[in-house]
């Protein structure tokens, strides 16, 4: 059963040094506020999984908390490079970053296998690509019925999955809608699940295409309005494209990045709201 807790306490209890953590949300509903809480608490030596690392992982990587990244597309969508990711891979700053790299289809299926509690998933993928030569989580299986050779991808079972959703009820049942990405699979693949939400409501009303995660598959719900900014939450906010564009020059420069994290993440004002919310 999910307890409704403050973001500070939920992160402190559920996410530990050395964990494999998936913070999912395909462009939409990216749990930025939870990532910032990880930075404030200095939880480190993390292996991070995410299809599109996005600015959220650029920030965690630049903050020096990440030893390994499992991913399939590492750019700033529509803008360009993730400069903190590139600096870590190319120059080892602020620490070397080990990579386990896939295609989107492969990553999505790794979560499907993880949620299904199967050791691997099969797909018609990676054909002719050099990617399998750089990872030990892609292999080949022969179909026992047709003899076709298919790609096999190892299940991905994070220690913790963190997602952001629009609503929870007071019992901790959660609903998200709009682009629902790979969040259901990432949540059901994990040992522990933390959900931050825009709003806590008396009753969840079913939404077209909505994904409901019952309280008994979750560990904690934290009320964090705006917790997906600069990504967005359909029905509550729009994507802050200007922030994504403004991130480029900040992340390009180590000093500017470090200053930004000090001011906007570690700064006193940003920390205050995360200790509220347990009784919202």
């Amino acid at each position: 059963m999910a307890e409704i807790r403050s973001l500070h306490d939920a992160v402190a209890d559920l996410i530990h040094d050395g964990d494999t953590v998936a913070m999912e949300g395909f462009t939409h509903l990216i749990p930025f506020a939870a990532a910032h809480e990880i930075i404030r608490q200095g939880i480190t030596d993390l292996t991070l999984a995410r299809m599109t690392p996005d600015v959220i992982y650029d920030q965690l990587i630049g903050a020096g908390l990440v030893k390994k990244l499992i991913f399939s597309w590492g750019g700033n969508p529509g803008v360009g490079s993730l400069h903190r990711f590139r600096d870590a891979v190319e120059n080892g700053w602020p620490r070397p970053l080990e990579l386990d790299e896939h295609s989107h289809a492969g990553m999505a299926n790794r979560y499907v296998a993880g949620a299904s509690k199967l050791p691997f998933a099969v797909l018609r993928g990676y054909r002719g690509s050099d990617i399998p030569g750089r990872t030990d989580t892609v292999s080949t299986v022969t179909c026992p019925f047709t003899g076709e050779k298919l790609a096999a991808v190892a299940a991905l079972n994070p220690d913790v999955t963190v997602i952001h959703a629009q609503q929870a009820d007071r019992a901790g049942n959660v609903q998200l809608w709009g682009l629902t990405g790979v969040q259901k699979e990432a949540a059901l693949a994990a040992s522990r699940v933390l959900v931050t939400v825009e709003e806590i409501v008396d009753t969840l009303e079913p939404r077209p295409g909505g994904v409901v995660l019952p309280t008994w598959v979750l560990d904690a719900v934290a009320h964090v309005p705006g917790g997906a900014h600069p990504s967005y939450a359909t029905g509550y906010s729009v994507r802050d494209n200007a922030f994504y564009q403004a991130w480029d020059p900040i992340a390009r420069d180590r000093e500017a990045f470090t200053q930004w994290i000090e001011t906007h993440v570690r700064g006193a004002g940003s920390a205050a709201r995360t200790t509220e919310g347990a009784n919202a």
Partner: protein, 259 residues
């Protein structure tokens, strides 16, 4: 932007590329759209040569009808205007791998003479670390499983290289039989549209051949911008200049995207 818009009898190299990329979608039913130039082309096609084109974005949207060019593949308008929004595993497994999509439209950082693509790492020379690119995204399976593939990218020796530093996504491998030997269902790249002209694979060798030049571009310019000895068709055509309607639609999409 304070400068006056160019009149619709004048156009840039990029606009030539974008208009011709949109034209390449005439007749297609469904298109899996990469972000950036492919998205510009696919949205322009919906407003010009192919109003019924079904745009599919990897974020899970099927039948998106945005009025402005999206910045990312997950902008809200793509979902709000879609016929259906599906989860990401479903998109890749049921729709793409299921063979439901006619055309995959891709960009690329590096492409070779067989339209193989690198978006992973580039060699920057002795003593320097490998240059890191974003990685594969959806491209390997888009290129494998769509009925055919169109590519759009600017033409330079930096992009059109003799040998790829890494094969992220297979185009035609090293010849016309390689895709079939690997069990790839789709026909692979059928055209590469650039700011200088259009390249298409020779059916006999699968090697890209310059088949069309944009107005005002010479074969020598294209050769100089290509990192291998580019083959040129016996009869090189010239693409039709953009029409006033095409340019107006393209500029309106871009202007709306900046709002």
């Amino acid at each position: 932007m304070s400068e006056a818009p160019a009149p619709e009898t004048e156009f840039t190299r990029d606009e030539l590329m974008e208009v011709n990329a949109a034209r390449a979608l005439a007749g297609a039913k469904t298109c899996f759209v990469g972000i950036g130039l492919p998205s510009t082309a696919a949205n322009l096609a919906r407003n010009t040569v192919n109003p019924g084109l079904v745009l599919i974005y990897e974020s899970g949207t099927i039948g998106s009808k945005p009025t402005a060019l999206p910045l990312s593949i997950g902008d809200g308008e793509l979902a709000e205007t879609a016929d259906a929004v599906v989860p990401v595993p479903e998109m890749f497994n049921y729709w793409l791998q299921g063979g439901r999509i006619d055309v995959g439209f891709l960009g690329a950082a590096q492409v070779d003479r067989y339209a193989n693509i690198n978006t992973t790492v580039v060699n920057r020379g002795e003593g320097k670390p490998e240059g890191r690119l974003p990685g594969a995204g959806g491209a390997p399976e888009i290129a494998s499983n769509c009925g055919r593939v169109l590519m759009v990218l600017r033409h330079s020796t930096r992009n059109f290289v003799r040998a790829l530093d890494f094969v992220t996504t297979l185009g035609h491998g090293a010849g016309p039989k390689d895709r079939a030997a690997l069990g790839m269902p789709g026909a692979g790249p059928t055209a590469v549209i650039t700011d200088l002209g259009v390249l298409r694979p020779d059916p006999a060798t699968a090697e890209l051949v310059l088949t069309e030049l944009h107005p005002g571009v010479t074969v020598e310019q294209v050769r100089a911008a290509t990192g291998w000895e580019l083959r040129v068709a016996d009869q090189v055509g010239t693409t039709a200049p953009p029409t006033a309607e095409e340019l107006a639609a393209l500029r309106a999409l871009k202007a709306a995207g900046k709002r």
